[in-house]
Subunit: 238 residues, 2 copies
């Protein structure tokens, strides 16, 4: 069994290496990459390796890397080891995991034992292990209990990118009015109407305010925006 570690922080990388060696004695080779691009390359060269990776990396995002790796080899087992449980990350991951694939999501704040347990569960028992805190988010966001529909999330991203109503309607193949309907829906759910005072003039620009509260609630974050921007540029060309 080979394990590929993709993590840009040298300290964390060393720690992971340590943890893998001690939790998986049957592992006979640990490979390290310090960014997503290199990780993809090494994953291609070692096509039987299981993977542990960070989500937030400077060079190339973990989600991007995981996507291409899974595209080439959907049965790859990946354990995501991340600092954050932002809804943006959780949504990003569950959007790309292939059907039936075994994967895990463990927070860096988890204990030693929990990490090692997750390593064994995924790579030996091929079970999914998702941190409790993250799991809660998944339920909420995908079970659409006080959460967001895909449609709503989609339009949130679109306005966050700065697209016009008209541009969105073209991109998503909707009428202008439908786009505006979804926007209203979004404004409702984000509770953007708070005048925040009894005074009427402290009002918000709903569109930008929605983006702001989405960021503050971590529905969006930098890497989600970055990905969305790339996709949009792609669409603009085609």
């Amino acid at each position: 069994m080979k394990i590929l570690i993709i993590e840009d922080d040298p300290l964390h990388r060393a720690y992971l290496h340590e943890a893998v060696s001690s939790a998986l004695p049957e592992c006979d080779g640990v490979i390290e990459a310090d960014n997503g691009t290199e990780g993809e390359l090494l994953a291609r060269q070692n096509d039987s390796a299981h993977i542990v990776m960070d989500l937030q990396m400077n060079q190339r995002n973990g989600i991007e890397a995981a996507r291409t790796i899974w595209k080439e080899r959907p049965e790859t087992r990946i354990l995501f080891w991340s600092n954050y449980s932002d809804e943006a990350y959780v949504r990003g991951v569950s959007r790309i995991v292939p059907d039936g694939a075994a994967y895990g999501y463990v927070l860096k704040s988890a204990s030693d034992e929990r990490l090692k347990l997750a390593l064994r569960s995924i790579f030996v028992e091929s079970q999914c292990v998702i941190d409790r805190e993250v799991r809660g988010l998944q339920q909420k966001s995908l079970g659409r209990l006080s959460g967001f529909t895909d449609a709503e999330y989609e339009i949130l991203v679109d306005i966050a990118l700065g697209l016009t109503d008209r541009a969105i309607s073209k991109r998503r193949h909707l009428s202008l009015r439908s786009v505006q309907n979804r926007l209203q829906q979004l404004y409702d759910k984000l509770d953007v109407y708070q005048t925040a005072g009894e005074d009427d003039d402290g009002r918000f620009n709903l569109r930008t305010r929605a983006v702001a509260v989405a960021f503050l609630r971590k529905l969006l974050n930098y890497s989600a925006l970055e990905r969305a921007e790339a996709e949009m540029q792609e669409w603009l060309k085609g």
Copy 2:
């Protein structure tokens, strides 16, 4: 000499502890805090201590912590040790550093030696040490060479929060037209007008697009937005 370490990642904290002990043999006490709030408390209790701190922490932001520490004791020497050189952080720091205070900004990607050298320079020689990469940003952003005026940055934050033109005019004591002037200025500098294609209909909503590119260029980031939101809520009450 006492050193206070404020850093939420246990691995990095241990590493810092190691580095401090080896670089500063004259140090006779290392105190650790794992979030900003606790850091402020310990700084108050140990009012001769020098400080090494992370900027991005979950509980309480490093910039916030540094601000209150410096407010109580402006001659405190602080070394910021951060993962990122986002313009938002750099601007945030240089905004709060008191006149004549000795401080430092070192990236976590820097080598062992560089960190230790910075520790000695600041805490023994009381010299400012700023990472080259960060320094470049400072020059650009404060020397307003292709950078942003305070006025422009201010209005950028205001629209990012989702305020109306009118609301901004009240908050900043400007006429409505002046606000719009500054916005135009901002749109210019952020180069928001890129139709991105020869086609005219792929157009952007300038206001939200400006926020998007500011985020992508790291002029803004989560913690800057968070701070700004808190300030705005304060203002809304008053």
